[in-house]
C-alpha cells in the first residue's frame, strides 16, 4: 500500500515535470531581479547609512536619521501588505501585476532596505583604525569605500547576501500567491488547494534542498574570502 502510493506519487510528479521546471525558472527570475536590485541600490544605501553615522567619514545626523527612518518604514510593512500597496507602482513599471516580473517589483522594494541594513551592520565590524590609516595615507573617500570598506567586509557581505537570498526565496512564495508563480505558488495551488499532498511535500523538499545549497555555497565562499 505504502509502496503503491509512493510509486503513484512519483508518476504524478513526473507528469508535472514541465510545470515544476517552469516554477523553478519563475522563482529564479524573481530572486535574480530582487537580488540585483538589492545589491545595486541597497548596497550603496547601506554604505551611505554607515558613512553618515556619528564618528564616520561623512557623519551627518540628518541624512542618517532620514535614511534610517525610511528604511525602517519600508521594513515595517508585512510583505503581503507591501505587495498590495505597491500594485499601482508595479502596474506603472511592468504594465501588469501578474507574473514573476511583476512580483519582482515588490520583492525588490523589500529587498533594498533589508540589504542596506545588512550592509551597514557588516561595515560596522571593520575597525575604525583601519579606515583611519587609509585616511592618514591620503586615500580619497571613494578609495576608502572600494579598497578598504568593501574589501575588508567582503566575507561578511557574502554572508549577508546569503541571508538575503534565503529570506527572499521564502518571500517569493508569498509573491506567488498573487500570481507571481514560482515553487511556493505551485505548492499552494496543487498541494494546498487541490489536496495533492505529494506535490506539497515534493515542493517543500525542493525548497529545503535549494536553501541548503545556497547556505553551503555562501559559507564556503565567505570563508574562502575571509583572511582575518
Amino acid at each position: 500500500m505504502e509502496e503503491l502510493t509512493f510509486a503513484a506519487a512519483l508518476t504524478d510528479l513526473a507528469s508535472m515535470a514541465p510545470e515544476i521546471w517552469q516554477a523553478c525558472r519563475e522563482t529564479a527570475l524573481m530572486l535574480a531581479v530582487g537580488l540585483v536590485a538589492a545589491i545595486a541600490l541597497g548596497g550603496p544605501l547601506g554604505i551611505v547609512l554607515y558613512l553618515s553615522q556619528p564618528g564616520q567619514l561623512f557623519a551627518n545626523r540628518w541624512v542618517n536619521g532620514l535614511l534610517g527612518w525610511t528604511v525602517n518604514l519600508v521594513r515595517s510593512f508585512p510583505f503581503i501588505i507591501l505587495m498590495v500597496s505597491l500594485v499601482p507602482l508595479t502596474r506603472l513599471i511592468v504594465g501588469s501585476t501578474i507574473g514573476p516580473v511583476a512580483a519582482a517589483v515588490p520583492l525588490s522594494f523589500a529587498a533594498i532596505p533589508y540589504f542596506a541594513r545588512l550592509v551597514e551592520q557588516t561595515l560596522r565590524e571593520i575597525p575604525r583604525g583601519v579606515v583611519e590609516a587609509a585616511e592618514a595615507m591620503g586615500a580619497s573617500p571613494m578609495q576608502i569605500i572600494v579598497k578598504v570598506l568593501l574589501n575588508e567586509a567582503r566575507s561578511g557581505l557574502i554572508s549577508s547576501l546569503t541571508i538575503l537570498t534565503i529570506s527572499f526565496l521564502s518571500y517569493s512564495a508569498v509573491a506567488g500567491v498573487v500570481g507571481g508563480g514560482g515553487i511556493g505558488d505551485l505548492a499552494i495551488r496543487y498541494g494546498y488547494y487541490r489536496f495533492q499532498t505529494d506535490v506539497m511535500v515534493a515542493m517543500v523538499l525542493l525548497l529545503v534542498l535549494i536553501v541548503q545549497i545556497i547556505q553551503f555555497a555562501g559559507n564556503r565562499l565567505a570563508s574562502r574570502l575571509d583572511k582575518r
Partner: protein
C-alpha cells in the same frame, strides 16, 4: 620640517563640558630628527601627533609641514600632502584581507604608482624591514612585531619626508619593542626620514630620540635633549618620567 604654531584642540566631553586636549602649543621639529612626544595618559600627546597630519583638525593655529600650511589646504591638496606623511599605529591597523605585500602596496596604489613601480618598491620595503619571506602572508599569520614591521614598511613605501608613530611599541613585548625601535632608527639614519614618536616610556626616548617634548595637560612642559642615553631634564615631570622608566 614641522612647525606647530599656537595650536589648540578641545573635545566635547560626554557631560557636555569641554576638554582641552592641546592648549596653545608651539613646537618645531627639524628635518632628519627623531622627536619624541612623551607624557602620562591623557597628556595630549596622541592628539598632538594627530594634529600634524590633520587627522584631528586644530581649533586654532597653523600646522606647517615642509613649508606648507596644512590647515589652509582643500581636501584634495591635503590628501596629496598626507601621502608625504607616513603613519604607524599602536594597533597596527593593517588590512586583514590584504597580504603583507598588498598592505605595503596600498599607499602606492592610492598615490597612482604604476604596477611595476609598486612591485619593486614593495620588495625594497620588505627588504628594509626584514620581511622579504612574508610577502604573501596575511596579517593574521604574523606576530605582533612582524605586523608592526609591515606597518612601518607601509608608512615608508611612498618615500615620505616624515613618519608619525603613535605608541608603535606599546602593544609589544620588551624584546620586540627594541627591534621595532632599531628598525625606526635605521630608517631615520639611512633615509633621513623625520620621525615623530609618541610614547609614555622614557626608555623609548632614550633609545632613539634626539629630542623630546614632555607634555602635561595639553601643554609642552619642556623640550629635553637626549645625548646618548642621557636625558637632560629640568622639569619635575620629566624627572618623574625618567624615574618611572
Amino acid at each position: 620640517m614641522i612647525h606647530l604654531q599656537n595650536i589648540r584642540k578641545r573635545f566635547r566631553r560626554p557631560d557636555g563640558g569641554w576638554f582641552d586636549a592641546v592648549c596653545d602649543t608651539s613646537l618645531s621639529i627639524g628635518a632628519g630628527e627623531v622627536f619624541g612626544l612623551i607624557g602620562f595618559s591623557g597628556a595630549g600627546k596622541s592628539t598632538l601627533l594627530r594634529l600634524i597630519n590633520l587627522l584631528e583638525r586644530p581649533d586654532g593655529g597653523a600646522v606647517i609641514v615642509a613649508g606648507q600650511d596644512l590647515t589652509a589646504l582643500d581636501a584634495k591638496a591635503l590628501r596629496r600632502a598626507r601621502q608625504q606623511l607616513g603613519m604607524v599605529f599602536q594597533q597596527f591597523n593593517l588590512m586583514a584581507n590584504r597580504t603583507v605585500a598588498g598592505n605595503i602596496a596600498f599607499p602606492l596604489e592610492i598615490a597612482g604608482w604604476s604596477a611595476a613601480d609598486i612591485a619593486s618598491r614593495v620588495a625594497e620595503c620588505l627588504e628594509i624591514v626584514g620581511l622579504a619571506d612574508r610577502a604573501e602572508h596575511y596579517p593574521a599569520q604574523l606576530s605582533g612585531g612582524q605586523k608592526q614591521r609591515v606597518g612601518i614598511a607601509r608608512a615608508l613605501a611612498p618615500r615620505p619626508k616624515v613618519i608619525l608613530a603613535d605608541e608603535p611599541t606599546s602593544a609589544l613585548d620588551p624584546k620586540t619593542t627594541q627591534s621595532i625601535l632599531d628598525c625606526l632608527k635605521d630608517i631615520n639614519q639611512r633615509f633621513g626620514v623625520t620621525v615623530v614618536i609618541v610614547t609614555h616610556e622614557m626608555h623609548v626616548v632614550r633609545s632613539i630620540c634626539h629630542r623630546a617634548a614632555v607634555l602635561d595637560a595639553g601643554s609642552v612642559v619642556e623640550v629635553v635633549e637626549v645625548n646618548g642615553a642621557e636625558v637632560d631634564a629640568r622639569s619635575a615631570l620629566a624627572r618623574s618620567l625618567l624615574e618611572a622608566a
